[in-house]
C-alpha cells in the first residue's frame, strides 16, 4: 500500500484505476485515458497532484540561496507571485530535479518539486540551505490540484474565495497569488491554460466534487503524461536524471548564464558541456510509419550514430506516435527507431507538438 492523497477516496468513488506512482496510490485513469486527454485539450480536466512536494523557504537570504541552488536565476523574479521553472543540479552538472519556484515575498519563496524525488530533494536543499540560515519546511498538510484546459479557469473560478476571484482570473501566465487559504497559480503541465490550486487538505474533496459537478473531467496520470508529452514538457526520471546535463535534456533555455559571475551548483561542468560540440541533441520525433514509440527504444541516425527515446507514446491529439529523444550531434532531420527489431522511420520536429489546443508541427 502506498501513500494516499486527501483525494484518494474521491478517486475510488469516481471509478479510478489506481496505480503506484513513486510510492503513491494514484489514479491512472477513470475509464478512458484518451477521453480525459481530449477533455483537457477541448474543455477542462482536473488532476490530483497532491503527491507533489511543496516546500516553503523562508529567511533573509532566501533569494541569495536560490541563486546558488538552481541553474535558472531567481533575479528574474521581481514581481510578486511570479513563477520560474528551473533545474536543480548536482556538483557534476546532472539534474537532481526540475521544479517551479514561486516568488511570494522577499523572505519567502515556494518550491514545488517532484513526488518521486521528495526525500533526496529535501535532504539536498536542507544541506545547501544551512550556511544561508534559510528555513526549509515541507507543506505536507496541503493538497494540490491542477485544473487545465481552455475552459478551466472559468469553470474553476467559483471555487475561489469571492474576494479574490477577480484577481485570480486576472493572473497572467506563470503568476500565482494567495487567495484566502488557497494559493492559485496560472501554471500547469499540459500545454493548456489553467490553474494549479494549493489548499488545505480538508477542503480538497469538496472542491473536487464541485469541479466535477461544474463539468470538469477527472483526469489521471495517464492523460497527464500524454498531454505533457505533446507539450514537450520534460518528465524527471525519463527525460533527465542525475547523470544527464540539462543541456542534453532540452532544458538549456532554463539555464541563466548571465551574470557570468553567478556561482550556482554545477556551473563549471555545465560550462564545459556548453562548449562541447559533440554534446547530444534533445529533439522531438514524429513516427512516419505505423506503430508506437516507447521509452528506451534505440534511435539510429545513419552515418552519424545512435541515441535513445526518453519519452515515447501515442499522441491522442495527432493520432500519431511521438517521442522526445536524446540523439547524437549533427545536422539531420530524419532517423530510424528500433521498435522490437524493426527500424521505423521518424522525422525530427520542432517541439512542442501541441500547444493551446493547436497542432504545432507539420504532419
Amino acid at each position: 500500500m502506498g501513500s494516499k492523497t486527501p483525494l484518494y477516496d474521491k478517486h475510488v468513488e469516481t471509478g479510478a484505476r489506481i496505480v503506484d506512482f513513486g510510492g503513491w496510490d494514484m489514479p491512472l485513469h477513470y475509464g478512458s485515458q484518451k477521453e480525459e486527454h481530449h477533455a483537457v485539450r477541448n474543455n477542462a480536466g482536473v488532476f490530483d497532484v497532491s503527491h507533489m512536494t511543496i516546500v516553503d523557504l523562508k529567511g533573509e537570504r532566501v533569494r541569495e540561496f536560490l541563486q546558488y541552488l538552481v541553474a535558472n536565476n531567481v533575479a528574474r523574479l521581481q514581481d510578486a507571485g511570479k513563477a520560474l521553472y528551473t533545474a536543480m543540479l548536482n556538483e557534476a552538472g546532472g539534474v537532481i530535479d526540475d521544479l517551479i519556484i514561486y516568488f511570494m515575498t522577499e523572505t519567502w519563496f515556494r518550491l514545488v518539486v517532484n513526488a518521486a524525488t521528495r526525500e533526496k530533494d529535501l535532504a539536498w536543499i536542507r544541506q545547501q540551505a544551512e550556511p544561508f540560515a534559510v528555513a526549509v519546511s515541507e507543506r505536507a498538510e496541503l493538497a494540490m490540484i491542477a485544473v487545465q484546459g481552455p475552459a478551466a479557469r472559468e469553470l474553476a473560478a467559483p471555487c475561489i474565495d469571492a474576494d479574490h476571484r477577480e484577481a485570480a482570473l486576472a493572473l497572467k501566465p506563470f503568476f500565482g497569488m494567495e487567495a484566502g487559504d488557497m494559493f492559485v497559480a496560472r501554471t500547469g503541465y499540459t500545454g493548456e491554460d489553467g490553474w494549479e490550486i494549493v489548499m488545505p487538505a480538508a477542503q480538497a474533496p469538496a472542491i473536487w466534487d464541485r469541479l466535477l459537478a461544474a463539468g470538469v473531467t477527472p483526469c489521471g496520470l495517464g492523460a497527464r503524461d500524454t498531454l505533457r508529452l505533446e507539450a514537450a514538457m520534460n518528465l524527471y526520471g525519463s527525460d533527465m536524471d542525475e547523470t544527464v546535463s540539462p543541456l542534453e535534456a532540452g532544458l538549456g533555455w532554463t539555464v541563466a548564464w548571465e551574470p557570468a559571475d553567478r556561482d550556482f551548483i554545477g556551473r563549471e561542468p555545465l560550462e564545459a558541456k556548453r562548449a562541447d560540440p559533440n554534446r547530444m541533441r534533445f529533439v522531438g520525433l514524429l513516427l512516419e510509419d505505423k506503430g508506437v514509440l516507447r521509452n528506451h527504444q534505440r534511435v539510429v541516425v545513419e552515418d552519424i550514430g545512435e541515441g535513445e527515446i526518453t519519452s515515447g507514446g501515442f499522441s491522442p491529439t495527432l493520432d500519431r506516435s511521438i517521442a522526445l529523444a536524446r540523439v547524437p550531434a549533427g545536422d539531420y532531420d530524419r532517423a530510424q527507431v528500433d521498435v522490437r527489431g524493426r527500424l521505423l522511420n521518424v522525422r525530427i520536429v520542432k517541439t512542442p507538438f501541441v500547444r493551446n489546443g493547436e497542432v504545432r508541427i507539420e504532419l
Binding site: 484505476r17 478512458s32 485515458q33 484518451k34 500524454t226 506503430g291 516507447r294 501515442f314
Partner: protein, 131 residues
C-alpha cells in the same frame, strides 16, 4: 465485471480462443485484458500464411499506456487477420469477443485443451488477480 462467454477457451495470458465450424480457431484478447491495457491505439498483426507456435508471440497490441504481446494458444498457420484493426484498434476495447477478434489460425494438429482454461477456471484466475 461482465459475464465471460461460455463457448470460449482462455489462456493464462488473457487470450481467448473460439473453435470455428471450418476447423480453424479465432483468437483475441479478453475483456479483462483490454480493460487493463486501456485505450488501444495500434495492433501489429502477423502475415496470413505465417506459422505460429503454441505459446509463441503472434501479434502485439499497443495501448496509450503500453505494448503487450499476444501469444498463440495453438500451433498452426494464420489463415486470416482482422485488417479492420489497423484503422480502428479501439474495436478491441468495445467488442473484445466479437468484432475485436485478432487472427484466425488453422491448427496443425489437435488442440492441447489441457493447456487452456475453461470459462470457470479463467474467471477464477482474474478474480485472484483482482483480489
Amino acid at each position: 465485471m461482465s459475464e465471460l462467454p461460455g463457448d470460449l477457451l482462455y489462456t493464462k495470458e488473457h487470450e481467448w480462443l473460439r473453435r470455428e465450424d471450418d476447423g480453424s480457431v479465432s483468437i483475441g484478447i479478453t475483456d479483462h485484458a483490454q480493460s487493463a491495457l486501456g485505450d488501444l491505439v495500434y495492433v501489429e498483426l502477423p502475415e496470413v500464411g505465417q506459422d505460429v507456435e503454441e505459446g509463441g508471440d503472434m501479434a502485439v497490441v499497443e495501448s496509450v499506456k503500453a505494448a503487450s504481446d499476444v501469444y498463440s494458444p495453438v500451433t498452426g498457420t494464420v489463415t486470416e487477420v482482422n485488417e479492420t484493426l489497423a484503422d480502428t484498434p479501439e474495436t478491441i476495447n468495445s467488442d473484445p469477443y466479437g468484432d475485436g477478434w485478432i487472427v484466425k489460425v488453422q491448427p496443425s494438429g489437435d488442440i492441447d485443451e489441457g493447456a487452456l482454461l475453461t470459462p470457470d477456471d479463467y474467471q477464477a484466475l482474474i478474480d485472484e488477480e483482482e483480489a
